[in-house]
């Protein structure tokens, strides 16, 4: 059976396992209809021209988590930022792991989507926010239909989340092939701050497909910093759908560190609903082999005096392929918008590919919008210069690549995370030099 048919026909069985007497029931039912109608995207759609899901959709995925699988912290410690005190929401094969997690209900809620979807006290919030900013496309609707588990974070107004929050999904391979559909809802009240680090980590060579949806609401003057670490193994594919609604004078940033996996697709959408908003989208992609990373971004400016800043750097080795498709929409009302986008790429081999496409739709006349895209190779003169100072070929190349990506790293606000990313990059580039540039 095709995966689509399997999913659609499993919906009734899924409904038997969840409480249908909730507001979410109608949303789920509508969503499965939408998915049935739209299905998975194909290369015929403009937004999916360079990314084919065909190969990853062929596996016979199990779509419901079956049994609880325990992991020892010591075996997976390296995937955590463990030198920093954080809240943790950890899932193993789609099921919540209480012994690896550290949640809270003290002034702020850092807990589970499954609680928020079922407990009466969260009902008003779910009704107000759940599935509101998410687009109703096939993949998001599929996630909505099967939405049951994920992270639920609620920061009321004038609160500072006292430590960063890590959301980590492990897959262990106790199924031959596994599909995961985490659903996160993050609400940040007026003047409140939160920092979140998200990671998907497969511990198996069995195929894993994750179709994740995250909705984020940043109320007036809220600060949201979201960091995505994508450094998964060769058989793990990720479709990340993130939707952020920002209100007046809020600042939201998303950093995406795409260092590997099979197919990684990031649909990152910012919707500005107020004046004086700043949206920041930064990314570093370093991949090789036959890995594929596709960044599809949207920033929608609807009101005056807002800004957006996009800076994506890509380094592609061997037969790796990359896509950057950055769309900026500026409504007629959104005068004095400053929207900047830059996408710089280095191809390390003749067989590596990058498709980079800016898409600007500007209806206001008093705006500053710029976009720039470069594709190049490492500079031989710079390599010789470094080598002539005693720095070996591999280290010189790594240093140049690191320097190329460095300005994106400099905006990471958590020092421990920055040093972790530094180490990941050094490992990626096969060198053992400290990059505290």
């Amino acid at each position: 059976m095709e995966l689509k048919d399997k999913l659609v026909s499993s919906f009734l069985a899924f409904e038997n396992t969840v409480d249908v007497d909730t507001a979410v029931h109608d949303i789920r039912s509508q969503a499965i209809k939408t998915f049935e109608e739209k299905g998975f995207p194909t290369k015929k759609e403009e937004a999916w021209k360079y990314t084919s899901l065909n190969a990853v959709l062929k596996h016979d995925y199990s779509i419901f988590p079956k049994e609880e699988n325990a992991l020892d912290f010591k075996d997976i410690k390296k995937y955590f930022l463990h030198d920093l005190d954080t809240y943790k929401i950890v899932f193993i094969d789609g099921k919540y792991s209480s012994h690896l997690s550290e949640t809270t209900h003290d002034k702020i809620d850092v807990c589970l989507m499954s609680s928020a979807l079922t407990h009466e006290k969260y009902r008003p919030i779910i009704e107000n926010y759940f599935n509101k900013v998410a687009r109703k496309d096939g993949l998001t609707s599929l996630n909505t239909a099967f939405s049951r588990e994920g992270a639920y974070i609620y920061i009321p107004k004038n609160k500072l989340a006292d430590k960063p929050i890590q959301i980590i999904h492990f897959s262990t391979g106790n199924e031959a092939a596994q599909m995961l559909q985490p659903r996160n809802l993050i609400i940040v009240g007026e003047n409140s701050h939160v920092q979140i680090i998200e990671r998907h980590q497969s511990l198996t060579d069995n195929p894993v497909l994750t179709n994740s949806v995250t909705e984020i609401f940043a109320d007036k003057r809220a600060f949201v910093d979201y960091y995505k670490i994508q450094n998964d193994n060769q058989n793990a594919s990720l479709i990340d759908n993130t939707y952020i609604e920002q209100h007046a004078q809020s600042v939201a940033s998303v950093h995406t560190f795409a260092f590997g996996g099979n197919i990684t697709r990031n649909n990152l959408n910012f919707y500005q609903k107020g004046e004086g908003i700043d949206s920041i989208l930064n990314g570093i992609t370093i991949i090789e082999g036959k890995q594929h990373v596709d960044h599809n971004t949207l920033v929608h400016h609807t009101e005056p005096n807002c800004e957006s800043h996009q800076d994506y750097k890509g380094i592609f080795g061997e037969k790796a392929t990359g896509v950057f498709n950055g769309k900026i929409v500026v409504n007629k009302e959104a005068q004095k918008t400053n929207a900047f986008q830059s996408n710089n790429n280095i191809l390390l081999s003749d067989k590596a590919t990058i498709n980079s496409k800016p898409q600007l739709e500007i209806f206001a006349d008093d705006v500053k919008c710029s976009h720039g895209c470069t594709i190049g190779q490492l500079d031989d003169n710079a390599l010789f210069y470094m080598k002539s100072r005693g720095i070996g070929e591999k280290e010189a190349r790594a240093l140049l690549m690191y320097a190329f990506a460095n300005n994106v790293l400099s905006s990471v606000k958590i020092p421990q995370l920055k040093s972790r990313i530094n180490k990941l990059i050094a490992t990626k580039l096969g060198v053992n030099i400290g990059f505290d540039l």
């Binding site: 710079a382 010789f384 080598k387 002539s388 320097a403 990506a405 460095n406 300005n407 540039l437």
Partner: protein, 250 residues
Amino acid sequence: MLEIKDLHASVEGKEILKGLNLNVKAGEIHAIMGPNGAGKSTLASIVAGKEEYEVTKGGILLEGEDIEDLAAEERAHKGVFLSFQYPVEIPGVTVTNFMKTAINETRKAQGLEEMPAKDMLKKIREKSELLEIDRKFLSRSLNEGFSGGEKKRNEIFQMAMMEPKLAILDETDSGLDIDALRIVANGVNKLKSEDNAIVVITHYQRLLDYIVPDFVHVLYDGKIVKSGTKDLALELEEKGYDWIKEEINA
């Protein structure tokens, strides 16, 4: 220190060095002068190990060892230093961290431990004072947005940090005003010892007023055609290169 014997070298099939001989002993300063296109910068790049050049005949010995098969970084580990005519801009790498990496990678290759951070800082402070370099300058990206003079001063700062056995200064004087020239020359002179050697490549006699050579060579059409003492540089300054060309062609 450096012995170049009958060196022939070409790039993309075009022969640039045509049988060059040069013998530089420890403790000596040699100046190589010559008209544009004579092969001066090619010589500097070949000694430093740039791969685009093909050595077709002859050899380069450093302290008696043939270095032809060594990569640029291996030559640096053995004490070769090139002050670039056109230093490369490397955005994202600060001067300080470039030097830390260069020194520690060199120490690693020599089987030494990394230099302790305290010693490194001390050395950076000393050498930047020697070249009268502002501390703020050291945290800027390497050569990015530097003026011509700042780039050259930064090259000599790197030389001071690396403490090479053989330093080749390729037109270090170009882009320097007279004050900067004095500072750079003073730095070079302080680094000079009985154990190292310096080859100064220049068009003009001006630099040689400050860095006084033991020998002056004229490079023309891929060969050293005339050698002498520092008086030769003065003569060249006064009379230009035409009389040498005429001598050769006669």
